[in-house]
């Protein structure tokens, strides 16, 4: 199972990113669990400077932007 973490404390883009990831997971039937990280001390483990951050299997793949669906699909299927 792929572990997905959304880093960000409830900003508009964090919610949008979560929706896109959920959509990709549902469409592709990927076995994944989404976890939201809202605690700053926790999310700084990945050394981000901008929210939202996207962490897949403990690796930060993007920060400060909403990646496209194809990018997210690639990350989710590669891992």
């Amino acid at each position: 199972m792929v572990s997905v973490k959304i880093l960000g404390s409830g900003c508009a883009n964090c919610k949008r990113l979560e929706a896109v990831v959920a959509k990709v997971i549902a469409e592709r039937g990927i076995d994944a669990a989404i976890e939201k990280v809202t605690d700053y001390a926790h999310m700084m483990r990945w050394n981000i400077l901008q929210t939202p951050g996207l962490v897949i299997n403990d690796t930060l793949v993007s920060a400060g932007r909403i990646p496209s669906e194809s990018e997210i699909t690639a990350w989710l299927t590669q891992h």
Partner: protein
Amino acid sequence: MHSGEEAGGIFVLFYVRFFAMTQVLSSPAEHARAADRRAWLIVTGAAIVWLVAYRSIQPLAHWLTYGVIGLQPGSHLGESVAFFLYDVPKILLLLSGMIFVISTVRSFFSPERTRALLAGKREGVGNLLAASLGVVTPFCSCSAVPLFIGFVEAGIPLGVTFSFLIAAPMVNEVALVMLFGLFGWQIAALYMAAGLAIAIASGMVIGRLQMERYVEDFVWQIRSGGGAVVVTDPTWSQRFALAWQSTREIVGRVWLYVIIGIAVGAGIHGYVPEQAMADIMGREAWWSVPAAVLLGVPLYANAAGVMPVIQALIAKGAALGTALAFMMAVVALSLPEMIILRRVLKPRLIITFIGITAVGIVAIGYLFNLMI
């Protein structure tokens, strides 16, 4: 018939050539270059359309007001309507065009790069660099906390970090474009210089006060894993795509405020008598600058809408320094950002930050009222 056939022939020829080209362009680098050429072509085309549209606003507004609606030139209503019909498309076009350009420029910068540039810089030079980078680095107040932690953790002095945090929202693209559109480039440049000066000075003062212990303790305990994203250089087509996305986002967020603001401004323009504002907001009223700053703090969301109103007020006798101080307070000392920053700053440091920045803004307000 003949020319149609000819055009069809040319089209087929182009199509074949294009097809041949795509066959040859097999490497990813070649593909990226072709995409960049296409992106530049689209942007150039859009720029030409933009210029033509911008040029035709004034005659169009005039024709609509006095020709189509049939209002009397020189009447209160006529002046208000003409002002509204001219300013709304002008400001919206300026906003879209210039935010696109600014966003493209910003794609060359990132918070990660800015942090790398600032790390190891001392006070003074560091404050100057931080304030300047604050203007061009893409920044959203929703990311203020991770940015603050990331800067402090990289060893950037507190005062230098604050110079960045003050300049980034104060000298923002919406404020600059609105000032440029409503008052001309001189006032926009003056505003930028004043904003930078406040950010540098406030940051240096906060640095001197040595307030490190008023940063929340958890910030100093964080040891990040160092797993930052690798920043790669985007291609031109990606830069334009990103710029277009942020233009749509920003204009989508502010257009309604702009229209409402201009409508209120148009009303003031046509109906409030000349010099009516001189008594309350003129340069003789010494208390108007601090009052404007106090009034500006809770007005965050309406930064775009406030400016057309200010323009109308200035036209009726309000002093420019007072108006600029009000605007700076609106964008730099916003309540929502303070609430976000409270997560990493203890109350004493927040109050110091607000106090010093407010004093700087008031000083700039007085200075402009004296000078201009």
